[in-house]
């Protein structure tokens, strides 16, 4: 019984908060900007509170970091580019390059 009441209160608090905080649409923009600049204190508080009650935006934040970290680790593998799965020069492109380099002043 007590647990049920607790759940009800929690639900009511979340509902009340979500009505007053910036919407998801506004929050995802701030989440993206948090990767570019230091957020103001007010922005940090409202985003934190929003994330406390909105799992969708928590995942959104996670996914942005996952994309960044995946792309950066790919870029960090660059010394091994030779063995990467990216496409190599085609035979024709290779010939074009050699031809062009043999007449550099044209």
């Amino acid at each position: 019984m007590a647990l049920k009441a607790y759940d009800k209160i929690k639900h009511a608090v979340r509902w009340w908060l979500l009505r007053r905080l910036p919407t998801c649409k506004q929050t995802v923009k701030v989440i993206s900007e948090s990767m570019e600049r230091r957020l103001s204190l007010w922005e940090r508080i409202t985003v934190k509170l929003h994330l406390w009650i909105c799992l969708w935006c928590v995942w959104y934040l996670e996914h942005l970091h996952l994309m960044r970290n995946t792309i950066r680790s790919k870029a960090a593998q660059e010394p091994n580019l030779d063995s990467s799965s990216l496409p190599p020069l085609s035979a024709e492109a290779r010939e074009r390059l050699k031809l062009r380099l043999s007449q550099p002043n044209d």
Binding site: C24, S32, L66, M67, A75, D82, L86, L97, K98
Partner: protein, 204 residues
Amino acid sequence: MSEPQRTPKSQSPDFSAWVDLHGDYLYKYAIFRLRDGSAAEDCVQETFLAALKAYRGFEGRGSERTWLVGILKHKVTDHFRRVTREAPIGETEGEEFEHNEFFTRTDEWNNHWSNAYAPSDWHATPSELVERSDFWKVLNDCLSPLPERTASAFTLREVDGLTSEQICEALNITVNNLWVMLHRARLHLRNCLEINWFTKETTD
């Protein structure tokens, strides 16, 4: 493969051997950033031509490859600069990637995630994704519908980790433009990956 014997300074190096030794590497470097084969080939060619001209200046410090990559880096940024300088940014560029439909609801929670577009749990880590070549294909396909400048901003920021100032200078935009572009690129890419990679993965 080992580094080629370095030719004496006064002599011209064998450029056709250069293409064989470094061509693929430089091309892969460029295509990872430009996603377009012919633009990547152009940048590689310009790099070799610039290297040809500057070879006397190359004192043989460090490896030839590092030197060539250094030149290529500039050529790639020049390419971004060229394609974006020609067209000044328009008011409405990329507006459709604001994706208002993601946040359109008919109930009292309008402007919050619509159920159809809300993120789900991906259960993924960078280390497993990075090895999947099909993931990179999906990511490239997802980037391609974005406006050129938006995709370039995203690449310069996330692949090369350039600062806002450097990107704004290269793309001729303000920092506010940049933040809007990065936001739209991320909103679009995340959704596109969710549909084409993460949902497919679990249903396959």
